[in-house]
Symmetry: C2
Subunit: 274 residues, 2 copies
């Protein structure tokens, strides 16, 4: 069982890694200058506890820590229990989810480990908004995408806001960064993937046509909401696909477009040929 | 042409309806206590100018007003041109979209007018979050949903943040409120609609099964993200449908779930039987 430690001392040094959360993502003292993984709320803390990330400590109000009793059994980490008032002073604002956990980052896995056994992958280019990135992971998890690959210009999925918006699914869906862009896409092709660029441009084919003929491995490229995929990325893909939209409407939010495409590509809508 | 009026006077009374936008949605002096329709940015202002809402005035920096020259031709409203600094002082914060327009609200149309000729409708219950509501309208517009019906507990689609998140599509997709819940659903049935409740509960059928057999009119009920549809709403539907999800994942954001369902129901993914 995690050891429950009661404290009402705002200055308690043991709470330092929970302090001033609004700046917690900038940690020049840590590897890469990046902060710890921070999970907020019982739902996300539960996902963290079942993830490969090693939990360091928890901080919460008594009621929220009690909700996690089962998950904390057998876990040798401190769980600091305090009042909502002290918690607010430590983290710097009122956190109505009432519980936090910290964890160490882990090295990003090699591309081959994510590709092996995967059928549908999402490949992101220029998704620099933490909320869109988090939402993409949530949608990938819900709709059965096997992994996420980060091209240039993407935000950090382990940034606190991404973790929260993803409902903790960034801790669950495997991801890594592609080191050469767009050359790394060849690695996917070598592993049998068809690389499809999602873009509304002329000449792209309706998503369904891809699904209808492809009960195969697909890597779907998604670009930033502002500018979409780069010319370079579209040229590097095997096929350009689009979501057929109503006249006069330009685009969906990138995470929403991802959800629709994931639904189609993972076969959740069935297959036209079946 | 709209008359261009240059002013650098923060206290200029003609700018009063653009003042202090963070509280602009509360207007006890106006019908229903609700504020004017406010469009932010050239994209949304353009949608407003093509909408049934009567524009009252514009306020913007010169460059943004100039971008709207074509749309403003033939429009007899004042367009106040000022600096970014004065604009920030008037609206109460720096608005990097650089242009605003105000319009009068219009009475909500009768249900019959929205139902006539529609094939797919979205019916919302308890969607009280302005961003989710705005995103639902954006998704409805992009994926060809013909109208949105508001059940109990829904936020105001014309609230400033909803307008912005919808990218102005709340001004374009017809909507109205249902006055009796869930009895008003009978009106939809009388018009030939099948009423489908989107819910992950046991016994719901995959969305695709509905599409596969139904080249018919569908009204899709969507519930709040927190609690989903009420028992009452599900019982009042003809069928319960779900988006098949990966194991261990509970739900998608309501606007995202809506997008996937709209894609399927409007036939953008094709039909299983075709």
């Amino acid at each position: 069982m995690a050891s429950l430690i009661y404290t009402e001392d705002v200055a308690d040094e043991r709470l330092d890694e929970f302090r001033d959360l609004t700046t917690a993502d900038r940690r020049p003292d840590r590897p890469g200058g990046r902060g710890l993984v921070i999970a907020e709320g019982t739902v996300v803390v539960r996902r963290l506890l079942c993830s490969p990330y090693r939990v360091r400590a928890l901080l919460g109000v008594e009621r929220r820590i009690a909700e996690l009793t089962d998950e904390l059994a057998g876990l040798a980490v401190p769980a600091y229990v305090t009042s909502a008032e002290v918690m607010a002073k430590v983290v710097g604002f009122h956190l109505n989810r009432g519980v936090l956990a910290t964890a160490d980052r882990v090295p990003r896995p090699p591309l081959e480990r994510i590709v092996a056994g995967a059928r549908v992958l999402a490949v992101l280019e220029g998704v620099g908004d933490h909320e869109n990135l988090g939402a993409l992971f949530r949608n990938a998890a819900a709709l059965g995408v096997d992994g996420v690959l980060l091209g240039p210009g993407c935000a950090d999925p382990l940034y606190r806001r991404s973790v929260r918006v993803s409902m903790g699914h960034v801790l669950r869906v495997p991801f890594t960064a592609l080191d050469k862009w767009p050359q790394s896409l060849d690695v996917l092709r070598d592993h049998g993937f068809r690389v499809a660029a999602l873009t509304p441009r002329a000449g792209s084919v309706p998503l369904r046509e891809l699904t209808a003929t492809a009960d195969e491995q697909v890597a779907l490229l998604l670009g930033s909401e502002g500018h979409g995929l780069s010319e370079e990325a579209i040229a590097a893909a095997d096929v350009a696909v689009r979501i057929p939209m109503a006249e006069g409407v330009d685009s969906l939010n990138v995470a929403t477009a991802g959800a629709v495409a994931f639904y189609e590509l993972t076969g959740r809508g069935g297959r036209a040929g079946s």
